[in-house]
Symmetry: C2
Subunit: 143 residues, 2 copies
DNA sequence: ATATCTGCAAAGGATTTGCACGAGT
DNA sequence: ACTCGTGCAAATCCTTTGCAGATAT
């Protein structure tokens, strides 16, 4: 399905490599900063375009639900994420960490295709500084 | 916790009423359009400020993971959402529609506080027009 | 009086886009 | 030659903020 004329340019190669070298789910701007060390003349626009391109090729994942900014990773095996509610850090978890069972009422006017689950909590760093705990940022499901 | 000097101004009242009169999970701008019919001189900034205020009072929910824009609802009973991958429409589902079981490895360096689950699929309207199906927008968990 | 709110307009941050030049075939 | 990709800057979209005037107690 990729048009055969797409090229693996140096920019795309370096972006993918940098993404594969980190486990930190960087934002587009963070990718830009990383890549710039090796390609000082690259532009942020190119980074955005190529992250999109690599995403369309199935080579990187786009985490659009991770906060106000999009985050990316090149770890394409299905897995879960846990996000620190304080600092926003994201850590991978094996997919088997959670099981979701659906009991969908018959009358739901939707063809359900799948689900998206993410966990949230406090990372060790933020846990230690933890004083002002309750901030009510998550409404539902904060069981 | 709310300072006792907060007022229920006309703007706040109307915003809350409009939000309670719809099941459509409107964006801030959509709330603004609705409210403007009754308070033509209200500003978008006020709508944002008051949606935040009502959220801080626990009167409205802020759906920050529903897409690129924030969405709001005044239905504060815990429940789930299903989002149409085509048109973005959101529909409520009872909380019991899904059960999540966690089997968290001992070595996860996080204090898990909770989870967030959302469903996605095709709404009836989009289902009928459904021709160009596969768009690979969701990466993980698209079982 | 005084603290809270409002409307307005400007600023802000993240992402996308238009365009002319550069690179690969 | 021709298409695709890049850098740069400007534009866009959503949201937040500063400020001076208005409102309620």
């Amino acid at each position: 399905m990729p048009t055969p004329t797409h090229r693996l340019t140096p920019q795309r190669k370096v972006i993918l490599e940098e993404l594969r070298n980190t486990r930190s789910h960087p934002t587009a701007d963070e990718v830009y900063q990383l890549v710039r060390k090796r390609l000082p003349r690259i532009s942020l626009g190119t980074v955005y375009r190529n992250l999109d391109f690599l995403h369309s090729q199935g080579l990187v994942c786009k985490l659009d639900k991770a906060g106000s900014q999009m985050r990316f990773d090149a770890f394409t095996v299905p897995h879960l994420h846990i996000t620190c509610v304080r600092c926003g850090k994201i850590v991978d978890l094996p997919a088997e960490t959670a099981t979701v069972k659906l009991h969908v009422p018959k009358d739901v006017p939707f063809e359900i295709q799948g689900h998206w689950l993410e966990l949230f909590g406090l990372c060790p760093d933020c846990k230690s500084q933890s004083r002002n705990a309750g901030h009510g940022k998550h409404d539902h499901q904060t069981k």
